[in-house]
């Protein structure tokens, strides 16, 4: 019943190879995302072995292989697998056709977000500067929290 790590890793490398096969230019854009599909499969049927960290590593490997923006595919693989794991109990027993439809729906989201992030990343605004506000929010949240709890009667449930 238990699938070994080796099977997971070997199939992932094989899928990466399938993704990297040089095809004529018109066919290249239609080549399925074999590695993503393999990762989704393992997340569905062997979630104990293939979790978020596995998905992140696979995405990073793909990023490096295609010379893309480092971390983009890693991020999207993680988000996709998170979605799959959240819906796993429903998805794993669904018929093949509806599984395929859902998977293609996930990848549609994936591709849209990838397009958007690539657009943002190539923009003139430095991404690090722009996103640093998230860190400021992290620091500012306790301030807001303490001020608001002083002013109002809301208390943290203990």
């Amino acid at each position: 019943m238990s699938t070994s790590w080796i099977a997971v890793i070997l199939t992932s490398i094989a899928a990466l190879g399938l993704t990297l096969i040089p095809l004529p230019q018109p066919l290249q854009v239609h080549n399925p995302q074999w590695l993503l599909l393999t990762v989704i499969f393992w997340a569905l049927y062997r979630p104990a072995q293939a979790g978020l960290i596995y998905a992140w590593c696979a995405g990073l490997l793909l990023d490096v292989a295609v010379n893309g923006l480092l971390g983009l595919n890693a991020l999207l693989f993680t988000l996709t697998v998170f979605l799959v794991l959240s819906l796993r109990q429903r998805l794993a027993v669904a018929p093949l056709l509806s599984q395929a439809l859902l998977v293609s729906g996930f990848t549609l989201l994936y591709l849209m977000i990838a397009l958007w992030v690539e657009g943002v990343a190539t923009d003139i605004i430095s991404m690090a500067t722009y996103l640093s506000r998230a860190v400021s929010n992290l620091a500012a949240w306790p301030i807001i929290y303490f001020v608001m709890t002083r002013l109002t009667t809301i208390r943290m449930p203990r």
């Binding site: 979790g51 010379n67 998170f82 109990q89 990343a121 430095s126």
Partner: protein, 299 residues
């Protein structure tokens, strides 16, 4: 049974991974050193995968060659021998010319011309991307192939090394949309920026209208950008778009290198900003001067 365990992923882990990815993307965008090291390190593994996939193609080619026409092979051999003889003959003249130029330069207190060393590399694969203008070669850090090294073929500039791992390197072609280089406009001595369009065409924008450039002129690397040594043919002008209102013209060009058939390429392994650099910089200062003066300098 595994199906009935929830295996619901933790939000904390997801958030950590998301933050790590975003930090990685930002650092990659800025170009931090350790991100490059990570890229090169993992790239060794993925280059190996690309190499393995390319094996069947190479095997097929060698089998075809084995069963190929014997006469054809003999013809090919003869042709190559003739070409080799011809090139060697021309090289003798080249050596004496170089000596002469060095002598003349010494009289002018200049530095001797240095011909940078080249390294023959075989193309071993092609990583997929939307434009299809990356390829992988079988020489890496072990052979001193560093990111930024220029890559040429027998006819002209091909591109530059984007990333190198221990045993291989990824090359970006000059036709890529992300690639810009500084070129000299034919005999005028003016320099301009040439960028790729993602297709076969290259574009030089913002060329002053009075520059005398016509279709068929060769564009050479200028060396101003510090990325490519001066004087390699890069592209040939195919079309000049007049833009009367703006006072500028736009040149369309196509690369002189044979980008469709790149089995072997040459990597220029000497970094362009080494000893030859000051001499090149002296020459390049005059690029902004009027073309008349420039002609004297270049010729």
């Amino acid at each position: 049974m595994a199906l009935f365990d929830t295996h619901r992923p933790g939000f904390n882990l997801l958030l950590v991974l998301v933050v790590v990815s975003i930090v990685l993307m930002s650092l990659d965008r800025i170009g931090t050193r350790w991100v490059n090291e990570l890229d090169g390190g993992v790239g060794g593994a993925t280059d190996a995968v690309i190499k393995v996939i390319h094996q069947p193609v190479a095997l097929f080619q060698s089998v075809v060659q084995w069963f190929g026409d014997r006469d054809q092979l003999h013809d090919e051999l003869e042709r190559l021998q003739e070409e080799n003889l011809l090139l060697r003959g021309q090289m003798q003249q080249f050596a004496s010319l170089k000596r002469e130029v060095d002598g003349l330069r010494q009289l002018l207190n200049g530095r001797p011309v240095e011909v940078p060393p080249v390294l023959l590399a075989r193309r071993i694969g092609r990583p997929p991307n939307a434009e299809g203008n990356l390829f992988t070669i079988g020489r890496g850090l072990d052979d001193d192939v560093l990111p930024g090294d220029p890559v040429i073929d027998a006819y002209g500039l091909v591109g530059q090394v984007l990333r190198s791992t221990r045993s291989g390197a990824t090359v970006i072609q000059l036709t890529s949309r992300d690639h810009v280089l500084s070129v000299l406009l034919g005999e005028t001595g003016r320099s301009a920026l040439m960028r790729g369009t993602g297709g076969r065409e290259l574009v030089v924008e913002r060329v002053p209208e009075r520059t005398r450039v016509a279709a068929g002129d060769l564009l050479y690397t200028s060396g101003v950008d510090g990325a490519f040594p001066r004087g390699y043919p890069a592209a040939r002008v195919t079309r000049v778009d007049m833009d009367e209102a703006q006072g500028f013209v736009r040149l369309h060009a196509e690369p002189t290198a044979d980008l469709d058939r790149l089995d072997h390429v040459l990597v220029i392994t000497e970094p362009p900003d080494s000893p030859t650099r000051p001499a090149a910089a002296e020459d390049d200062e005059s690029v902004d001067m009027p073309p008349v003066e420039e002609n004297q300098n270049v010729d």
